[in-house]
Amino acid sequence: MSKEKWILSVFILLLLCIPLTESRFYVFLGTDILIFGLFAVSLNLLLGYTGLVSFGHATYFGIGAYTCALLMKKASVPFPLAFAAAGALGAISALIIGFFCIRLTKVYFAMLTLAFSQIVWAMAFKWNSLTGGDNGFVGVPFPQFLDSNVLFYYFTLGIVAGSLFLLRKVVNSPFGRILTTIRENPERTEFIGIHVKLFQLVAFMISGFFAAIAGGLFGIFNHSVFPDILFWPASAEVLIMTLLGGIYSFFGPVVGAAVLLFVRMQVTSYTEHWPVILGFTLAFLLFFFPGGIIGFLQARFARPGVNR
């Protein structure tokens, strides 16, 4: 087994053991980190692997959360079906929005994704009869077969691990290699006969699907969905997580999510000035550690054969 597989196995074992501590705090934090870890990795499929800066990724997360919660509570759809529908709707909306966005490049692409995410936010915010508007959609129950924090934690762990396994398959497949080629040089990729826009669109769709899966979990986990999770600062936050962990590493975004959520939980219990701390951390990161935590560790302890 390679060194990386060893590290992964140890991590998974550790994650399996978290509920044994019988600490509600760690189970809660663990679930939160797993969900946001998946969300950040799904974003990184676009950001780090395809070179597309999406500034509206919270859209798919939010669509997943609302779809799953609304179907369960309002239409009494069983959880597995509602959950699958969340993923499907995330992928479909990513397909539609992506279709318009990939026509543009760079900052224009970022702006367009942001603009669409604001449209979805405005819908969730104003459509009181469906989403509860500003008051949020509350009272979403745990599914019957997962009616405790620990069970839901294990369920989340399973879903997130499975999703990450699939995403890793995707980035290491020929398809994923082409995405990296597009990141490095879209023009030349076009020259060797690859339909760049189509590949970007498919990447966008896959990314939207997994973001919606993460969102579906989040809605159940919180027992409520608020339009805030669709607002643009939410999209910025997941970008920060991804960058903090490192965009050139597969598991980097998970590390970023873990560090950000853990530190936030600690800091907010001491001071209300978390935004200013996050702001300075982010600025510091951008100037001095553009590769994030994993990028820094890799440069420090450079090992041959590490998957970039």
């Binding site: 449209i119 104003k126 600062p233 100037f287």
Partner: protein, 295 residues
């Protein structure tokens, strides 16, 4: 059908709002057009403009024309802050990918919002209108505040000055050249770095001016930064990023849609404006007056 004089009044309100939006969005669009940076912190600079104006007004009590002096000093302070941010921080990120520039301006949003909270707290402030413009003007059978009328006249004046500077002066020519090809301009002997700082200074000044002028009309509260940046953003998306007249047109449209849309769809005027933006994005992703541009 509402009363025509009421419609006119509402439309004038929309026009006032459009002029504030124009001030902010033109700075945003200018910085984007020249520096290629989408400045999320633009709303924060606007917010600081409002807070500084409040501070200066209470400092200059009883001085003649205190409000105007306060707005002038506040906007210049904001402009200096903007220039310093460009000179000491943003400049080092030009060579990096857009993501780093975007997120740096977002870091500024977080930092400046928290600083404002530390200094001014979370309460509301309001600035009273300048003494000369306290009254209202009768229009048909309604009354319209004189101050708002002055803003409606001020907007096009600033727009025209701005357009004239960009099109007819040496500085304007250099700025437009920098938007097209900064390397070429630099090899022609123009100090591009300094030019960029000046552009950021002007952009930040416009944001500060917007914040200062809006302070007698709407309350100064935390959160006004995030709210206004999205509206300014809608304006430039509709009008066309980096297009000067597009920004002007976009402001007028957004102002009118907000003012009149609220009469037609009282609860959905917010969604209405986003739908409008979506239509523009789908039909002309580069905006009404922008040019299709691939960078």
């Amino acid at each position: 059908m509402p009363d025509p004089s009421f419609l006119l009044l509402q439309s004038l309100n929309g026009l006032t709002y459009a002029m504030f939006l124009f001030l902010i969005a033109s700075g945003l669009s200018l910085i984007f057009g020249i520096l290629g940076i989408l400045n999320f912190a633009h709303g924060s600079l606007y917010m600081l403009g409002a807070y500084f104006t409040h501070q200066f007004v209470s400092l200059f009590v009883d001085a003649p024309g205190q409000f105007w002096w306060a707005v002038l000093f506040a906007s210049l302070t904001v402009a200096a802050l903007g220039a310093a941010i460009e000179r000491f921080f943003l400049r080092h990120l030009y060579a990096r990918e857009e993501l780093y520039q975007l997120l740096f301006t977002y870091a500024l949003v977080l930092i400046l919002a928290d600083f404002a909270k530390v200094i001014w707290g979370t309460g509301q402030f309001s600035v009273s209108r300048p003494a000369l413009l306290k009254g209202a003007v009768p229009i048909l059978d309604q009354y319209f505040p004189t101050y708002n009328l002055v803003i409606i006249f001020l907007g096009p004046c600033i727009a025209f000055t701005f357009w004239f500077t960009l099109l007819r002066t040496r500085w304007g020519r250099k700025i437009r050249a920098a938007a097209l090809d900064r390397e070429m301009l630099s090899s022609l002997g123009v100090h591009v770095n300094r030019l960029f700082t000046v552009v950021f200074f002007i952009g930040a000044w416009l944001a500060g001016l917007g914040g200062g002028l809006v302070s007698p009309v709407s309350a100064i509260v935390p959160g006004m930064d995030v709210e206004v940046i999205i509206n300014a953003f809608i304006v430039v998306v509709i009008g066309g990023l980096g297009s000067f007249w597009g920004t002007f047109l976009g402001s007028l449209i957004v102002g009118q849609v907000y003012a009149l849309g609220i009469l037609v769809f009282p609860r959905h005027s917010l969604a209405f404006i986003y739908v409008l933006m979506a239509l523009v994005l789908i039909i002309r992703p580069w905006g009404l007056l922008g040019r299709p541009l691939q960078r």
